[in-house]
Every structure is written in structure tokens, then in C-alpha cells.
Amino acid sequence: MRHGNLLALTGLLVGAGLPAQATAQATAAPHVVSYSVTTSSRESGARFEWSDGRALEIRLRGGDVLVDGARVGGYARGGALETEWRALLAWTGSLTTDEAVAAVRSWTPEGVTGSEAQALDAVRARFDALRAGQTVAVAPPAPRAPRPEIAEAVAAAEQAAAEARVHVHELRDQIRNSVRVSVGNGLEEGFRPPPQPRFTTPIEAAFHGIMGLLGAFVALSAIGFGISFFGGRQLDVVASTVSASCARSFFVGLFAQPLVIPAFGATIAALVLTVVGILVVPVAIVAFVATLIAAVLGGYLAVARVAGSAWMKRRHGDHGIEGFGVLRSVAYGLAILLAVWLPAAVLGWVPVAGTVLTWTAAGVTWALATTGFGAAILTRGGTRTTFGHRFAPPELPPASLYERSGPEISTAEWMGHQR
């Protein structure tokens, strides 16, 4: 239907296939100098401004056809008039003003009947009154009826395209497989593909950094909550050691780090030497790594517990030693500890300064983790209270956690009691 209109318009104006061309017939009489179209799902309209300041505005909105705001008729949503009108706007929106005037003056939509036809007549009457600055001829982008040989060529091209798509899919699968194999081999050989350059704005970089930090906080909080539930006493003992013997814990952690690998090697060697122990070497490897991770992570969380409890004491007057307070203190502590990464996350993209901030945050985190690691070693994973004491500040009344009669005593206290 629309194509029919465009064909008629083409024949009327310039004949089929001719490009837009202007015939210089300048006029000093009032003429249209500006043309704009507006389209949305709810309405569509066109506005013409004359050189003498007048304007003509035609809109289709809510079932009404409006000319300069006054209703001249109605239209059916999705009907012939609206369809042809939107097609006209889509075409003329990219034309020059003179071309648009010529196009709308020649607009002859098909299939518009009934009450829509009345509205169309009113609109076309206003279009007929429009005058362009120059008389131009426009050729609408009308697809003409394809000649038989063209139709055959199109069909052949579509067939070829369909076959090509199949080949492309096959090639894509082959390439994916070969890339998987290559990357896999490369990774096995220690090869890492070079990072692809990707643009990130500073806002994006900061956003990614903060989201990463948030993710780390959530992950560590989840682990911390788990440890608080299932190993709360051990965590408190390590935390008390961090609090009472901070320097000692740090240096123990510092000196223990170079010994990790030799200790691991010695363990494996000892198991191998016993011959029978060879069977448990895989288990020993897993156990050693798990223990190491637990010591470092648990130590870090213990430091967080200390920081969080100090914060809670300052804000709420208690250290959060019971129930939900323990979880809150761990969460507060993690927020405090991870806050050292905030400047790096926000300004990490800044050359020099970003690097400095990142390394500073990494250094602080290493020092805290080392302290926690040392405390975990000193307390044998939270089972010895030799270097610590109750995790309660001196100014507080005796904490009930370890001094409560009955079964609510720590493992360390229980062991001390046994001795």
C-alpha cells in the first residue's frame, strides 16, 4: 500500500529512479524554512515553520487528528491513516525542508476510508497551502517491482546467503573448538593470552572497582559469618591474641611466611620417605593448602573482628560479643579493613597515583593478614590462649563468653582446666 503511494509520487514528481534534484526557482514570498517530525509510540506529528513566523503543526494523538491543536477528525490506532502518516514522517524526517514540503504536498495515501478520509482531506488541504523556498523534485525511496532477472538474482542471492550462513556456523564452531584447544594448550604451557585493550571511562573503572570491593566484602562476610557460627570461640581466641599481642603476632606471621614452602616440602618428603605415606601425599597436599588458607583467612577475619568490635564499642557501647553482635562486629571490621582499598578502587585508573594507592592498600592488607596469620599460629588455630586472653576490653565487666559456668566455655579454657 505504501509502496503504491511512493510509486505514484515518484511518477508524479520525477519519474522512477531519479535522485533528488533542485530546480532553482527562488521565491521571495513567505515559504517554509523549517521542518520537524516527532514520533513516539503514543503520537506522531509534523511541524512547519514559515519565513514570516507562522507555523503549521499536525499531530495524530490518542485517536485524534489535530491541526494546530484543533481536532479535525479521528483515526484508528494502527489503521491505514496512521500507518501511512508514520511512513510519511519516517521518510520526510531525513529530507531537506524544501524536499519535505514537496513530499507532503504530493502525499496520496491509499486505503484511507470513512471518517479517516475526512481527517485526511483536512490535513491535505493544509499541506496544499505549504510553499517551499525552492521548487524541488524528490524521489522517494520507493522499491519498484523487480524485473524477473532481478527477482531470480535475489532468489539466488538469498539461497547463497542461506548456504553461507550454514558455512559460517560450521566455521564458527571449528574456530571456537580450535581456539579452545589452543588456549588450553597455551595455558598448560604457561602462556597467557595478552589482555585485549578495552576502553573504560574513569567512571566505569571506579564503578568496577567499587563493585569488586563490594563483592569481596560480601564474600568475606559470608565466610566470616560461617566461622562465627561454627568456630566462634576459636575466632575470638585468635582475635584476642591479635589484640593483646599485636606486634608479636605480626613478627610471627612475618617469619612464618618464608617457612611455609620448606614446611610443605618437608611434610611431603617425610611422607614419601615412609613409603607407606606416599598414599596420603595427595591428601596431605590438600590438607596443607586448606590449613594455610584457613590460617590466613581466619587470621584476617580475626583482625576484622578486633577492628569491628572496637568500632562497635565506640558507636554502641558494647563490643558485640554475643549473638548477632558478633556478626555485626565482623561485618563492621571487614568494612573498615576493606576501606583501605576504596581510594585505590576509585582512583586506581589514575596513572602513578592509582598505582601508589593500590600498592599502599595491598601493603596494609598484607600487614593485617600477616598479623592475623601470626596470631593463628600462636594460638594453634584458636585453641591456645597463651598469648591472648578473653576477647573483652579491660574496662568492661568480665565477659560472660568464657567465664559462664556450665558448658559455655571455650575449648582453650577447657583444655587449661584439664591441665
Binding site: S36, T201, P202, V352
Partner: protein, 284 residues
């Protein structure tokens, strides 16, 4: 806070997230005006969010604006004052609060085309925008580009039709890439940036004589790329910044290229930065 309260809060947040990401209504506006070359035109653009393109218009149009925007968020205006010869395009007035997801709006876009034969005073201001400013071939008298958190490419693929007085770039936390700034044919280029990565490609058909290039960046990296044959005087003021000055030779407080005195075009580059890198390099 109880555990139940905590869990309820998390559950509520998870349930309300999908509802917050509802569909948006878009509106498209296209406007053009007959060509009138009788006097220069002052063009002012304010564009808050989306994609922004500027380029030359085809014959017969003074300008052409093609805008697609979120209908329920913005209340744009496109005004041309024929008496004052000013075009104002503003897509910055908001109807409600802008959410984080709106900052990455893929469909909101503004394309502005300007006729190359009309002398222009250009004032572009945009926020969280991905901008492609192809100003080559226009007739700029002066231009100012102010960006917020944007990703901007400013290019002059063809020489400016007239000698331009000043090109001023004011950039917030953004990445700005320039191409062939020399084709702007400006007597002065001023760059002010709060933070970001800036690449100034100073190649192109500079006007003969002295051209002033002032670059001021608080934090970030400034990369200056200059083609051979242009005389360069580089003066830097910095606090915690590293300067990579290629083969420029220090004389007094500035660094000079070997052919500075003989060169027909002399770029006097002043860079001031607090923290970051200043990299000068010759293009080959």
C-alpha cells in the same frame, strides 16, 4: 537488627530489582532548516546522557537535528532564533531522578549536522555521553567542548574552512581522544581536565606562525602526539608527574625541538599537571 529483619531486607531488594528495570518509552525528533549563509550561527548544545554525534550537513540545510530520547525522563528543546542566529539544543532538563541504569542508555542519541559553509561559534556541553565529534570541514570561528564523565572522540579529518580563534576543551573525569587537531586551524587550543586520559593528536594543517596549546590536568595522563616538521616548545609545571619528552632539548625552563626556530608553524605547549604522566611523542 535481627536475622529475620536482615533476611527480609535482602529478599525485598532481590524482589524489587527486576521491577526497577522496566521498559522505557522513546521519542524521536528530527528537525532541519533551510540553508541561510547570510551570517554566522551560534550553536549551543547541552546533552546529558546517551550517544552524541556532530558532523557536516548535506547541501540545502543550515542544520539537521536527529534526537531520540527517553520520553519520561527528559524534556528537550530545539530552538532556532532567526533574528539572533542562534541554535539551542538542550537535552538536559529532566523530569525525574536519573538512575544508574539510565547512564548506560544505549538508545538515547543526538546527531547534529551543521552546514560547512556557515561560520560557527560552537558550544557543546555533555555529561555521561559517548561522543563522536567530527568537526572537520566545518567553518568554526571558535569552539568550546565541555564534557563530564564521557568517552569522547574529537576529530578534524579535513581542515577547518576558516582560521579559528580558539578551541577550548573542558573535560571532567573522562577519556578524550583527539585526531588531527591541527586541522582545526585554531590559533589557540586550551585544554582543562580534572582527571582522565587525554590524547591530543596535534597533527594537521595548523596555520602558520605561533599556535598556543595550553593543557591543564589535575590527575591523569596527557599524551601529546606531534608530527615532524612542526616546531615545538614544551613547558611543564608538575608536582607528582612524570614527563616523557622524547628528543626535545632543554633550554632554560622549556624543552625545544631541534627545528623550532626554522619551523613555519610553532606549537607553544604549556602543560600543568598535579599527578600523572605527560608523554610527548613524535608521530611517524
Amino acid at each position: 537488627m535481627t536475622l529475620r529483619g536482615f533476611g527480609t531486607g535482602v529478599l525485598t531488594a532481590l524482589l524489587t530489582l527486576p521491577a526497577a528495570a522496566g521498559a522505557q518509552e522513546y521519542r524521536t525528533v528530527r528537525q532541519s532548516r533551510r540553508l541561510d549563509t547570510s551570517a554566522p550561527v551560534t550553536v549551543t548544545v547541552e546533552f546529558a546522557i546517551g550517544r552524541f554525534q556532530v558532523g557536516p550537513a548535506s547541501d540545502g540545510r543550515l542544520y539537521h537535528v536527529d534526537l531520540t530520547y527517553v520520553e519520561n525522563l527528559f524534556d528537550p528543546s530545539i530552538d532556532y532564533d532567526a533574528a539572533r542566529r542562534t541554535l539551542d539544543v538542550r537535552v538536559s532538563e529532566t523530569r525525574g531522578n536519573i538512575k544508574a541504569r539510565d547512564l548506560k542508555n544505549p538508545r538515547q542519541a543526538l546527531t547534529l549536522q551543521l552546514h560547512p559553509n556557515v561560520p560557527l561559534d560552537l558550544d557543546l556541553e555533555f555529561g555521561a555521553v559517548k561522543a563522536d565529534l567530527a568537526l572537520g570541514g566545518l567553518a568554526l570561528r571558535r569552539a568550546r567542548v565541555e564534557t563530564g564523565a564521557s568517552e569522547t572522540v574529537l576529530s578534524f579529518d579535513r581542515p577547518n574552512a576558516i582560521i579559528c580563534d580558539e578551541l577550548r576543551l573542558e573535560v571532567g573525569a573522562a577519556k578524550l581522544t583527539t585526531r588531527a587537531l591541527g586541522n582545526s586551524r585554531c590559533r589557540a587550543v586550551r585544554f582543562e581536565g580534572a582527571a582522565g586520559q587525554v590524547e591530543l593528536d596535534l597533527s594537521g594543517a595548523w596555520p602558520e606562525g605561533e599556535v598556543s596549546v595550553d593543557v591543564s590536568v589535575a590527575f591523569g595522563e596527557v599524551r601529546l602526539r606531534v608530527p615532524p616538521g612542526i616546531g615545538v616548545r614544551l613547558h611543564t609545571e608538575r608536582i607528582l608527574a612524570r614527563v616523557d619528552r622524547a628528543d626535545l632539548v632543554k633550554q632554560g625552563s622549556a624543552y625545544y625541538s631541534a627545528d623550532y626556530e626554522r619551523a613555519a608553524t610553532k606549537l607553544d605547549i604549556d602543560v600543568s599537571t598535579a599527578v600523572g604522566n605527560v608523554v610527548f611523542e613524535w608521530t611517524r
